[in-house]
């Protein structure tokens, strides 16, 4: 009798204990949230690649529990998306993975965590063929925050949009140049090309009445500002002092060049709006555009009716040097998956699972898929041999532009860079509109930069 009672008690105790251990037992699944952004619907593979990667991660069985992924793909602009991210992190309702560009700001705010260990560990296996420029783009030494003073890799590279000059081959052909001559004059690496050549060609096209404008540039401030300075022999950043720089002579030469173009009717005195810009270029009414990147044709084909085999009519090259001694250059526009920190409640943090997921997303075939979808170069060379890309009709094009990822320039990773870009761009507009002379524009620019960025270096 007593034995039975004791056994019953033991059983009951066992049951109770097993239930009470429930919350302390390991989670059934690891829940990961990822927030990705286009902007716009085209780069949706950023998100679908993650979905594919989580399947592979679970199949590999590296982690004790399966990973459940919740992916969000936003089609909005960077601004609202970034605000949403920041406020969500503050409320601890953020994601584990996010695609944002401002590594300096985020790392100093302590909102992302370094992935140096993973990159080092898998350098030979996963990152051996990722372009060094992409890895450099995610390297940064924060000046504040929890990792101040340490150089780290801050994200897993995802894609790049090298910018440069697009031009209309059909216009040049109409001027009498053969395809061979065009390829010789304007190689994609912009070797041997000078700005004078571009101006000459634009003049010819304008005189023949074939184009409305010879040149256009972006209607908004952007990283190409650095390209403009560099191709005119200047620089924007001093790596030794870690400060922004304005080379007055380069700025002056650039502004004078702009004014000359406007006076000759080759450049519009007011920046064209994006809609006008795109539709006019696709219709062949603009010869050279400084406003787009290698992936833009995908959008042109979809929304502006550009022909699928666009390489027949369009050519692309890096920004050419405009003064002797300058080098051709391309703004890289890199984007990386970032692993967040402090954006979720402490018990929901899963940095290891998140990072491993990203490593799986950095495989050759997933990169190839992204490349096919967006017409952007894969950041991994081995993706070029993947059957998805090889069988892609535009494979030759992708093959040509992929090496450009290696030509990228180091955009300054300082928060004041956006102030610099904006001020520079405003003065560009002023020169084009005839509000300021090139000399006055440089003067005013120096004044404003000094006010906004107290420790900027102004050199002649």
């Amino acid at each position: 009798m007593r034995l039975k009672r004791y056994l019953l008690l033991l059983l009951l105790a066992g049951l109770v204990l097993s239930f009470s251990f429930g919350p302390y037992a390991q989670e059934e699944v690891i829940k990961i949230k990822a927030w990705t952004i286009g902007p716009g619907p085209m780069p949706v593979t950023r998100a679908t690649n993650l979905e594919e990667a989580v399947k592979r991660l679970n199949a590999a069985g590296i982690l004790p529990q399966p990973v459940e992924l919740e992916v969000l793909f936003s089609e909005l602009k960077w601004g609202p998306f970034t605000e949403k991210f920041m406020t969500a992190c503050e409320a601890k309702e953020g994601p584990h993975i996010v695609t944002l560009k401002d590594i300096p700001g985020l790392s100093e705010a302590g909102l992302i965590r370094p992935v140096t260990d993973y990159i080092e560990k898998y350098r030979e296996t996963i990152f051996y063929d990722v372009y060094e420029s992409m890895l450099d783009a995610v390297k940064y030494t924060p000046k504040a925050g929890p990792y101040a003073g340490e150089e780290h890799y801050w994200g897993i590279p995802q894609d790049a949009t090298p910018g440069g000059v697009w031009y209309r081959k059909d216009v040049l052909r109409a001027l009498g140049y053969t395809d061979e001559e065009i390829a010789e004059m304007l190689p994609s690496t912009a070797e041997g090309v000078t700005c004078d050549l571009l101006v000459r060609l634009a003049r010819e096209a304008k005189e023949a009445g074939l184009v409305e404008w010879g040149f256009v540039h972006r209607p908004s401030p952007g990283d190409p500002v650095m390209a403009y300075m560099v191709i005119f022999g200047g620089r924007v950043y001093d790596p030794v002092e870690d400060k922004l720089v304005l080379t007055k002579s380069a700025a002056l030469k650039f502004f004078q060049w702009l004014k000359k173009l406007v006076d000759e009717g080759l450049l519009s005195p007011a920046p064209l709006s994006w809609g006008t810009l795109h539709s006019m270029f696709v219709e062949g009414k603009i010869l050279f555009t400084f406003a787009n990147h290698v992936g833009t044709p995908a959008e042109w084909i979809e929304k502006y009716g550009l022909r699928e085999d666009f390489e027949v009519d369009l050519g692309f090259m890096l920004f050419p040097p405009c003064v002797p001694g300058a080098k051709p250059i391309s703004p890289l526009g890199p984007l990386a998956y970032l692993v967040t920190q402090g954006c979720v409640r402490p018990e929901e943090e899963h940095p290891e699972a998140a990072t491993l997921l990203l490593l799986f997303a950095t495989s050759a075939d997933l990169q190839a898929r992204h490349s096919v979808q967006t017409m952007r170069p894969p950041i991994k060379e081995s993706a070029l041999y993947d059957p998805i890309l090889v069988t892609f009709p535009r494979y030759q094009y992708i093959k040509t532009i992929t090496p450009m990822v290696g030509f990228a320039m180091d955009v300054p990773k300082l928060p004041e860079w956006s102030l610099y870009k904006k001020a520079f761009f405003e003065h560009m507009k002023a020169v084009e509109a005839g509000i300021l002379t090139p000399e006055k524009a440089v003067e005013e620019l120096v004044k404003i930069l000094r006010a906004d960025i107290p420790d900027i270096i102004i050199e002649e």
Binding site: D102, A270, T276, P415, K429, A433
Partner: protein, 322 residues
Amino acid sequence: METRWKGAASQLLLVLAAPLRGLLLRGKTRWKLLPLLFLAPTAVFVFFFYLLPVALTGLISLTDMDMRLDWHFIGLANFVKAIAGDPRVPRIIMNTVIYVVFALILTVGLGLAIALITTHIREGAGIFFRGVWLLPNLTPPVVYILLWQWFFDSSRYGFLNSFLGLFGLPPKAWLTHYALPIVIPVNAFIGLSFCMIVFTSAIKSLPRSLITAAKVDGATTWQVCRWVIIPLLKWPIAFMTAWHLIAHINSYVYILLLTDGGPYYRSEVWALYTLHRSFDFYEFGYGAAMAMLLVAVTVLLTLGIWRVFGLGRLLEPSKIEV
């Protein structure tokens, strides 16, 4: 003066406690607290969603808060920078003054004119035209601006330029050379629809007897408008002026989308600049300081208008004893 403030403060407290007291007290005392009951919801919302955020913004203006969203107090440094340290500020202030004055005239003046005209023509036509003038308000800002950009596009294809092209005139870069003069009506039309609706409603609630009486006395429509209707609309006009003065000082969305303050700060107004500094560069502290300065100016102007228009006279003592 002091007693008035004390009284007001105690009133606010009572308002917040009103629902409770309304339940507890009975009879005559309850009726005395009726106004407080009526004001309670407003007070609650205003406190939580207006006063608190404003106070927080005020606190933020004393910090150097940026993307980190942490509170690091630096005193009045932001304010000093905004007033003295920024070479763009004088231009921006001038732009803001010009913009506000002219946009206000358009908003209230043209709004009144349209309200008057559309209430004197056939009802159907009146509604139609009011609907057309309401369109700017109904259109999402991006699209509204796209329409204006097309209208003023600097290339040959913009509407205005292609219209001029019909007469052989060359295309002009309208938004470059006339940035501020274009930005003014584009914005004014938004506020205009509000004025139009309020004035129309007010005109329609006027006792017909007055107008009929004037007409019987031999007044023309124009005279009726000038001497009967407009004076009776004195209050809505005054209020709309005050309201839209404040609205225009704070407006930036359409300018942002149309010219982004360009070219070269020629159409940059204070509110837009505040936005630029806050959200483009994540300088929340500096942005908050600029916002507080704007608010201070607006408050002063509002107090001024209150005096000038004698808005206090609108508060007649209650006709029915509570």
